[in-house]
């Protein structure tokens, strides 16, 4: 089942193309890793797909009515904003708003969803703590929990593992992959190529606003692509434990330029 389809999505800012003819499809059961260097257009692509930034071309999500879209796709923004010291449980419960006809009080069924998400992300012990008094990594997981509480077929997660410790990075990526295995669709941006290689079912590479590669991790993550797009060398092994990718060094010309 197709959950998102972007066709020829283009966006220009102050005369410079930020997105250039992006085409991307995402179906149920897929966990697509969107990777690319800083400034390549990852976040802009997601925001344009959501319809939060006006772009030319077509996005199946941007074309939806806002209320219906909020029940189709949950977006975890890169900026981790929590304005008020509300308890973690109440913050996660905000994810249920698109499902409520009116008011903010949750019916029992919705409350069960919130508790379920809290325990799935290991946040049950934090549930009564003010959400503004958490560590950076805890805040990241709480906000991911909010997006999951929205219970949408599609999840767009922008840098969900940035700032997390190794165990939590792996746990979050495994969780996202698990959601895909349950039949939902996930698009995740990630700077850790090793995590993307291990947990994504598909990798899409964006560079200077263009999708330059899209396919199975082992087929996409080649030394030539890593050199061309990221300017790095890496050790890539497809062993019994799955694909592993360890970045080794920058290439001379790219390293000097940086």
């Amino acid at each position: 089942m197709k959950l998102m389809e972007l066709t020829d999505l283009s966006l220009t800012r102050r005369g410079a193309p930020v997105l250039d003819g992006v085409a991307l499809r995402l179906g149920a059961g897929e966990c697509v890793g969107l990777i690319g260097p800083n400034g390549a257009g990852k976040s802009t692509l997601i925001r344009a797909a959501m319809g939060l930034e006006r772009a030319r071309g077509r996005s199946s999500l941007a074309a939806m009515a806002p209320g219906a879209r909020a029940r189709q796709v949950a977006w975890l923004p890169q900026a981790r904003t929590v304005a008020w010291p509300m308890p973690v449980r109440d913050l996660v419960a905000l994810g249920r708003l698109p499902h409520l006809a009116r008011g903010t009080a949750l019916p029992p069924g919705d409350r069960a969803v919130v508790e379920n998400v809290l325990s799935r992300l290991g946040l049950a012990d934090l549930a009564d703590r003010p959400a503004t008094e958490l560590s950076g990594g805890e805040t990241a997981r709480v906000l991911l929990a909010r997006a999951l509480a929205q219970e949408t077929p599609l999840i767009l997660a922008d840098e969900p593992v940035a700032g997390l410790d190794a165990a939590h990075q792996i746990a979050v990526m495994r969780l996202l992959r698990g959601l895909a295995d349950e039949g939902r669709g996930v698009l995740v941006t990630c700077h850790d190529l090793g995590l993307a290689a291990r947990f994504c079912t598909r990798i899409a590479v964006i560079d200077s606003g263009r999708i330059v590669a899209d396919g199975a991790p082992a087929a996409v993550l080649t030394p030539a692509l890593l050199a061309g797009v990221f300017g790095i060398t890496a050790r890539i092994e497809d062993g019994p434990e799955g694909l592993s990718l360890i970045p080794l060094d920058t290439l001379p010309e790219r390293g000097a330029a940086a």
Binding site: G67, W75, T81, P85, P87, L94, L97, P98, R102, T104
Partner: protein, 328 residues
């Protein structure tokens, strides 16, 4: 808002309403005052109760509720606990309209010219805000436009006072600006109530959007909330509520700032639940302050706005101090 909190605040407002009816310079025993109000057996006292104290208590509750709710909306919309209803410049523009009628003598000649001009001032402020902030854009453009309108209105007020040929009229305007609900009548209730209640009804619809804004503007948009519409509703609702409150009572500060701040922890910081709580809390606060001005200096006409600032500012400093101590 939890039922217990709603009951507690509601009971407080009811008790203060009653106290506001029973306390006054006439020094009538409560029993006689209530009897006069309900049965009309004492013509003079009934007149005082029905035509002086009742509209005054109702105005205090209305204005307090409007300012408390407006403060909660502004803080939720801007996601800033220091935001207050005056930030948009609506109150300043209303004051300018009022001061002009006082200065030109129009207020003395035409009944209700002053509140009408104040309402016109706030309507002009909204038009200017909408033009400056544009159809799209976030809360930042609105607040910058509000600061501009506010400064312009303030400059206008000082200009009118500055060029005033008549020191008596200037004095009258100065006193009006201090904020008071002494000697207001049913006609003031009639002119303010539709705007305040209408504005509050408009603002009260935005609890869900304000709750979603906890996660940031774009996250709220991704959850299906139309931020352009929210901004329009905030602007119109605030203009009606704050404009009408200023039109009949002058500038009454600190209610919109302190009340949401005080009640936030009782609603577990929920921006949606804070709306109703702040409306009740604001009504209680203005009622209490309006009773206090009658008790503290009964024969000196202490202005409500002055007393509010006198209580509000130290109270606010206390909150900041407690916040700092809690952090260390």
């Amino acid at each position: 808002m939890s039922r217990a909190l709603a009951l507690a605040l509601g009971a407080m407002v009811a008790a203060l309403m009653l106290a506001s009816l029973l306390i006054g310079p006439a020094g009538v025993p409560p029993g006689a005052a209530m009897r006069a109000l309900l049965t009309g057996d004492d013509p003079l006292l009934t007149l005082v109760m029905r035509e002086v104290r009742t509209p005054r208590a109702i105005l205090a509750a209305l204005i307090g509720a409007g300012l408390g709710l407006s403060g909660a909306v502004m803080q939720g919309y801007l996601r800033n606990p220091l935001a207050e209803p005056g930030l948009l410049g609506v109150a300043g523009a209303a004051a300018l309209g009022a001061v002009i009628t006082l200065q030109t003598g129009l207020a003395a000649v035409v009944p209700l010219a002053l509140p009408a001009a104040a309402l016109a001032g706030s309507a002009a402020a909204v038009a200017l805000l909408a033009a400056l902030a544009g159809p799209r854009g976030g809360s930042l453009t609105l607040i910058l436009a509000g600061i501009g309108v506010s400064a312009l209105a303030g400059a206008g007020v000082t200009l009118v006072l500055n060029l005033s040929p008549d020191p008596f009229a200037a004095n009258e305007a100065m006193f009006w600006l201090m904020g008071s609900i002494t000697d207001r009548s049913w006609s003031h209730v009639a002119i303010a109530a539709p705007f305040i209640l209408g504005g509050m009804a408009l603002l009260a619809t935005q609890g869900r959007a304000l709750a979603a804004l906890t996660l940031g503007e774009e996250a709220a948009a991704s959850m299906g909330f139309d931020l352009s519409r929210l901004r329009l509703v905030v602007m119109l609702g605030l203009a009606a509520t704050v404009g009408a409150a200023t039109a009949v009572a002058g500038a009454i500060g600190f209610v919109g700032l302190v009340v949401p701040h005080l009640l936030r922890r009782w609603v577990r910081a929920s921006p949606a639940a804070l709306l109703g709580a702040s409306a009740l809390g604001g009504a209680a606060m203005v009622l209490a302050a309006d009773i206090a001005v009658r008790l503290v200096l009964p024969d000196r006409d202490l202005k409500l706005g002055v007393l509010m600032a006198l209580i509000g500012a130290p109270f606010f400093l206390h909150l900041i101090l407690r916040h700092r101590l809690a952090q260390s």
